[in-house]
């Protein structure tokens, strides 16, 4: 079955659109598979996603149940990663927290990547005053330090996960717009785009179907590399009390409350720290691998 698919996808004499498309995808997958760091990153991320999705099944305790008799306990068989200052099981909180943290990442990316792609390709393709207007707006957002703008935004709204997502999204899109614009500028005057223009296709069709697909690979790479910083920004907002609110077990918020006991009960802060480190690192590995595979400049 798998061998059949392999032979079918790698067949140089593809006989259908589907086969040609799968051949492309399969070759990308093969190249990615040959990159050990990227595979490590992908496996870690995959595991985290599965763990977060299955949190209700896997968590040994309810993440919100307090047990004040047993607060700040060392790791035991009952509580594998110990308990926090209210006696809640850290492992369970970590698993449920993964849902919030990864959810924030996914939500931000879904909001940000299409916006950045649209702004960048439109600015790059049309040029002139459209380009100037869109890029100056981008510059305005780029001029603010990310965390500060997010902080101001969350403070203006109300602290919470939704505001954190919105704030991070608001500060995360400008780099994508810049990348998409740069990519668009390199292909805008190429003959193959002019050839499409010679079909009489509208500018929107050219942007959507011919220019944007060329910008997607570098955007995917950048998004993957950025996921680490989105996680850290989300955690920072949580740490500063502007993100997820107690009792929700967001990783940054967990570190924030644990910092009071960081010297005596270090294991309370260690687990969420490790979780953030591991996931960020995994996203960076995957991003690096994807860059090697997808970067059109290495064709």
């Amino acid at each position: 079955m798998l061998a059949d698919f392999r032979a079918w996808a790698l067949d140089d004499l593809a006989t259908s659109r589907r086969q040609a498309a799968w051949g492309r995808r399969y070759r990308i997958w093969l190249a990615l598979k040959a990159n050990p760091l990227a595979m490590i990153g992908m496996i870690i991320i995959g595991l985290c996603v599965i763990l977060a999705l299955l949190a209700p099944l896997l968590a040994p305790h309810d993440p919100a149940i307090q047990d004040l008799e047993n607060r700040l306990a060392r790791p035991t068989a009952e509580h594998l990663l110990g308990t926090d200052e209210l006696g809640r099981d850290i492992l369970s909180r970590l698993l449920y927290g993964g849902r919030i943290t990864l959810g924030i990442v996914v939500a931000v990316v879904i909001m940000v990547a299409p916006v950045g792609l649209a702004v960048g390709t439109i600015a790059g393709y049309f040029g002139g005053w459209v380009d100037k207007t869109l890029m100056r707006i981008t510059d305005v957002f780029l001029a603010f330090p990310r965390l500060i703008l997010a902080l101001a935004f969350v403070a203006a709204l109300s602290p919470g996960v939704e505001s954190a997502i919105l704030a991070i999204a608001l500060t995360a899109w400008p780099p994508y717009a810049r990348i998409a614009r740069a990519e668009t500028l390199t292909v805008r005057n190429s003959e193959f785009i002019e050839a499409v223009a010679m079909t009489g296709a509208s500018s929107w069709r050219i942007i959507l179907r011919h220019v944007a697909p060329l910008c997607v690979p570098s955007l995917v790479v950048r998004v993957t590399l950025d996921m680490a910083s989105i996680i850290i920004t989300a955690a920072s907002l949580g740490f500063l009390g502007m993100g997820a609110q107690p009792p929700s077990p967001e990783w940054g918020a967990m570190i924030a409350t644990a910092k009071r006991f960081i010297l005596d009960q270090w294991w309370v802060a260690l687990s969420p720290c490790m979780a953030i480190l591991l996931v960020s690192l995994a996203f960076n590995f995957l991003g690096d691998g994807l860059r090697d595979v997808l970067d059109p400049k290495q064709d």
């Binding site: 004499l13 593809a14 659109r17 040609a20 193959f192 050839a195 010679m198 060329l214 059109p296 064709d299």
Partner: protein
Amino acid sequence: MSDKMIDVRDLRVSFGAKEVVKGVSLAVQRGESFGVVGESGSGKSTVLRALAGLNHHWSGEIDFDGVPVGAKRPRAFFRKVQMVFQDPFGSLHPRQTIDRILSEFLAVHGMDDMDGRLNRALEAVALPQSVRFRFPHQLSGGQRQRVAIARALIAEPKVLLLDEPTSALDVSVQAEVLNLLAHLRESRGLTYVMVSHNLSVVAHLCSRLGVMQHGELVEQLSVEDLRARRATHPHTRELVELSRSLETPV
């Protein structure tokens, strides 16, 4: 309806303050093949791009089939006029299959019988059906240029604008592509405007040619006149001499 397929009067194109095409006038008859030669920078490609509607900053008058056209062309214009680009490696979208590249025109114009049209276009340029779902990087230069020609033909145009269609190809492949173009013109009654810096290529495919220098069309003459050395303008003679001296076997 007049016999003139293309009528250009006083075409001027400027890039910023620099005028690169300085009042070119030319007429191409229906079914004729007209060549434009000149050194690089003489403005010959710019004229062609203005004809194709790829350059919007021109002044003067351009008529196709008796109908004047403006800077922006309506969609129907591209059913009449198509273009083949110089670089077969740059003119095909690197991430699209041949199938997708060829079907784009049909999709934009909502034409029916996509499969049939695609297969006939591939057949017309003597490409096997097996290339249809390949990517451009899997084809040779000559095959790519055939795909580019097929893409132009799929619109069933009356006019084909050729921008140095063979200059990026090997000499042996050049001849193949030129013969293909000559055959297509005869069988479909196409009108060609071909830009080239190579006099012998133009003489092979065209019956009449214009010589450009510094943005001006300095001379128009028939290929017979050219062969008989009846060129009058010094720049034309220069080009002829250059071409002969290059092609004399050692």
